[in-house]
Amino acid sequence: MEEAILKVERVSFSYKDLPVLKDISFEIKRGEFFGIAGPNGSGKTTLLKIMDGILKTEEGTVYYEREVIHKLSRKEIARRISYVPQEHELPFSFTVEETVLMGRYPHLGILGIEGKRDHEIVRRAMEKCKVFHLRERLVTEISGGEKQRVAIARALAQEADVMLLDEPTAHLDLSSAIEIMALLKSLQEKEKKTIVIASHDINLLSNFADRIMLIVDGRIISIDVPSEIFTEDVLKKVYGELLTVVKVGNTPFIVPTNLKR
């Protein structure tokens, strides 16, 4: 658990003149469930894209173990890190199985034709994410929660050790959201995946993450285990007087201040 699988070192990034990330450094350990929390517009999505090498850093470096991410080819990155973006819209009616098969692309030869083993891996990925029964359905006609499971199954088919997910529960109702988080937790425990989630839902993160990093306006406020990170002090810095912490067992829950009584 101690070895860092991903290391972000002094990363800054801006869109045109607008600075989005300011001198960010942190490490993610192999096999951990890491939450990136913060309000909308705090730079979470940009950070994930930089960690996956989709965006190039202006300053700073991202390492996968000892390799510098931006020196790897797209295929090499895709075999190490998978990324599930917040919105995924396929313009054409691919079936669920065809979509998950796309996750095998970084392992295919020049002609891009899947073999028996690829189909087997995809079948298992669909089973683990409970979308196997949907395999012949079109991705355009399944529910939001199912779509998210398909996207996770596709990422799983990539067989990368690290999975990055951007707001995987954003458009889901509470029970679907918890199902998705439980699925990710089981991938961490059974498949030994390193899970990195960006989310503004701090309560959901507190329940599942091993460690949480809180970022606001592109700066790291703190990194800690869920039971320690949301102190009144930190919350005041981020949300003003609006929110307060109550603990259920050892897990902190953030509630609107006037509900505390």
Partner: protein, 335 residues
Amino acid sequence: MKNRKPFTPSKLIKVLSFFLLLLLFSFFLSIITGSVKIGLKSAVTSILKPDESEVSKIIFHIRLPRFLMGAIAGWSLCLSGAVFQGILRNPLADSYVLGVASASALGAVIDRLISLKIAFLGFPLFSFFLASFAIAFVYYMGMVNGTLNTGRMILAGVILGTFFSACITFLLTLLPKKELQGIFFWLLGDLSSAEIKSVVKVIPWVVIASVPVLIISHRLNLLSAGEEEASALGVNPKSTLTIFFLLSSLLTASIVSQCGAIGFVGLIVPHLIRIVFGPDARLLLPASGIAGASFLVLSDIVAKTILSPSEIPIGVITAFFGAPFFLYLLKWKRR
């Protein structure tokens, strides 16, 4: 199609064999139809044993080149149409609608006017250049914050097309009157003047463009999810897009320079194939190409027989069916 199985090589072979049979059928039909009646039996005999007879002459000098040009044009336009739809993530994309056809046509007119001495083995220089420019222009005009906006893209294409058409009209006014009829016919898309010489000129460019497109077709599937997602799945979006832009422009330009702008074929055929066999580009591209070859040959048979003995430019036939089809897709088939 609810029970669609994913892509496998054996599925590809089955589907392609079916369309090759259709192409064989359209071959025989195109050989025996025309202003001079030729029976199937005498056609087959003179293909197998060419002689100095009238039938042989008609077949080898008129009908065979016309069939070949039609098939190559259909292949290229449908293949590039399917590629345009993939990279623009839009089932409505077509070289005609996007202004790529007009751009190629303008380029071809320029190529003709200055009859380039540097023209290397019939390479459609200006046509290719303007077509690549048009598709790249439309892509970047349509891109808003990382997503492609259909409305903006089609509008940009239509405007670009109108502009290039105006340029063509301007250039045509500089021409002597007696050449106008020929160029006018060619602009509307025409196979009637196909010669074996022009077929030979087109083939190398079509092969050079088609082979790499088919080899990397799987990347089109990933790109249709958007640049960032494709990137996360292991595709380098910028270089892949550039390859597809250039090769599909080359396909369009080679055909437009020889046969003019035959519209909407590249829209109709890939669309129907997608409905029946699904959107996987590894099957969609070659199947659209071969089906498109048959489709254009069959449309050409209609063009030369419907008002026989006079002929209609084939572009008129395809636009006649294609334009309503496009409107139907625009109104009722949006996701």
